[in-house]
């Protein structure tokens, strides 16, 4: 997310924060700004026409962008947790890169949500100041990382399904959502390829690596179906995810077959009275994730750097 813009009077003469001095130093002799943050250019939809097209309901569009934005944001946070913990440096860099893509998508989608509902809430307000029940992500992305194979399995499921959804949304009537999706298709293709390659390598490796990979798949598989259960908002916005169930399952089955793994038969994780992540009903894993993600912003409201 971006810097928080200072409240009026928040950084007076007595504020000796070194980075404030840097960001407010003004143009250098050659006319280049020294540091972009705090210069007003951090809006991810800077100058983009954000008129909601006729025929689309702004509240529905906002709710839908929150769903997809929260999926991306929460999974970005989980991927970031691998930093300093991944099995190899290259994998750590890879997972952080995937998280960065998702974070960028989340910034665009949350910004779009705050505009489309007329609330004027920015990305930071939506990311840092909503409570757990206000998050609209599916439960798949909030599940703890588990071991590397669990994380690969989750990424395989998410990237395969999200890439398919973005291909659909690239033709959506909302031009901002369509542009985010069109960009995201190619990014998700790299994510899917990464997760597929590791699934093959672990599944087709030693009996031990295959068992660990299978255990990861078995653990996350019950969370897959929620991605295909349409919410009323998704139906009204013209993005019924149930059409993706069959092609995504077919793709996953082909990967697992090649990897020598078994498609789990576990039943989908039950919803609570018909309500799940899209309605703000989450597992116990989301609260601690958000606490860590939001603590700095909440401890220093309005802080800049």
């Amino acid at each position: 997310m971006t810097d928080h813009h200072a409240m009026p009077g928040h950084h007076g003469a007595g504020d000796d924060h070194v980075y404030l001095a840097l960001s407010e130093a003004g143009p250098e002799p050659d006319g280049e700004a020294r540091w972009a943050y705090g210069t007003g250019f951090s809006d991810p939809l800077l100058g983009v026409d954000t008129t909601v097209p006729a025929g689309l309901d702004g509240a529905d569009l906002a709710a839908y962008c929150l769903m997809l934005g929260d999926d991306a944001l929460v999974l970005a946070q989980r991927l970031t947790e691998w930093c300093t913990r991944a099995p190899e440096l290259e994998e750590e860099v890879a997972l952080a890169n995937l998280g960065l893509d998702l974070l960028g998508q989340a910034r665009l989608l949350l910004t779009r949500a705050g505009q489309a509902d007329g609330s004027g809430r920015g990305e930071d307000e939506l990311a840092y100041w909503r409570e757990e029940h206000e998050f609209r992500n599916v439960r798949l992305v909030e599940a703890p990382n588990g071991d590397f194979a669990h994380s690969v399995a989750r990424l395989l499921l998410f990237a395969t399904a999200r890439g398919a959804l973005y291909r659909l949304l690239a033709g959506h009537p909302d031009p901002v959502l369509a542009a985010v999706a069109a960009r995201g298709v190619l990014e998700l293709a790299y994510h899917q390829e990464y997760a597929t390659a590791w699934t093959l390598r672990l599944g087709d490796g030693t009996p031990y690596s295959a068992a660990r990979m299978q255990a990861g798949l078995d653990a996350v598989w019950p969370l897959l179906d929620e991605l295909f259960v349409p919410h009323a908002v998704e139906l009204r916005i013209g993005a019924d995810p149930s059409a993706l169930r069959e092609p995504v399952l077919r793709t996953l089955a082909a990967v697992l077959a090649e990897a020598g793994l078994t498609v789990p038969e576990a039943r989908p994780l039950a919803s609570v009275g018909g309500r799940a992540g899209r309605d703000g009903v989450h597992t116990e894993a989301l609260g601690p994730l958000l606490a860590e993600f939001q603590v700095v912003a909440r401890a220093n409201p309005g802080a800049t750097w």
């Binding site: 700004a33 290259e90 890879a94 890169n97 369509a178 293709a189 990967v255």
Partner: protein, 163 residues
């Protein structure tokens, strides 16, 4: 590409990329257009990856350069559609990348889901020109780069990956 009064275009086009400073924003294909109307200049930038953190710095740099060149009323805007592609990197840009030791990208296209044996593109080493190279990691120091190594000269190098 929007035709602009050459002067304003030239100013914006000369701004170096913050992460690949051997390239200008025009050579990278990020500068999507410049228009002038009266005394006002509008410059459009197309971000590379969704999460590329350099776009704010690019916008600030374009704004500052145009103001320093005497345009008092500058607007920098993002253009998300069509999305940026490595195909937008100019021939000059590709040459400068190679000269800086970064292998330029091949033609863009989504990575294909491969279930059989991995077949890598033939990538020439930007240091020695050797073709016995291998990908170490699809992901590197920035979102747009992969890490490779050359088995001829034994040197690692970075490569812009196609998107």
């Amino acid at each position: 590409m929007v035709t602009a009064p050459a002067a304003a275009w030239d100013v914006a086009a000369a701004v170096p990329d913050p992460e690949l400073p051997m390239l200008t924003l025009a050579e990278l294909g990020v500068l999507a257009g410049v228009e002038t109307e009266g005394g006002a200049v509008t410059a459009w930038l197309t971000p590379t990856y969704s999460g590329c953190p350099a776009i704010a710095e690019m916008a600030a740099d374009v704004d500052a350069r145009l103001r320093a060149a005497g345009y008092p009323d500058v607007r920098v805007r993002l253009r998300l559609d069509p999305p940026w592609s490595t195909d937008r990197i100019t021939e000059d840009g590709r040459r400068k990348l190679a000269e800086a030791g970064i292998a330029p990208p091949g033609p863009a296209g989504p990575p294909l889901l491969r279930l059989g044996p991995t077949r890598h593109r033939v990538v020439s080493c930007p240091q020695c020109g050797g073709t016995d190279t291998e990908e170490l990691s699809r992901f590197g120091s920035t979102a747009c780069k992969a890490l490779w190594r050359c088995r001829d000269c034994r040197e690692p190098f970075e490569r812009i990956k196609e998107i």
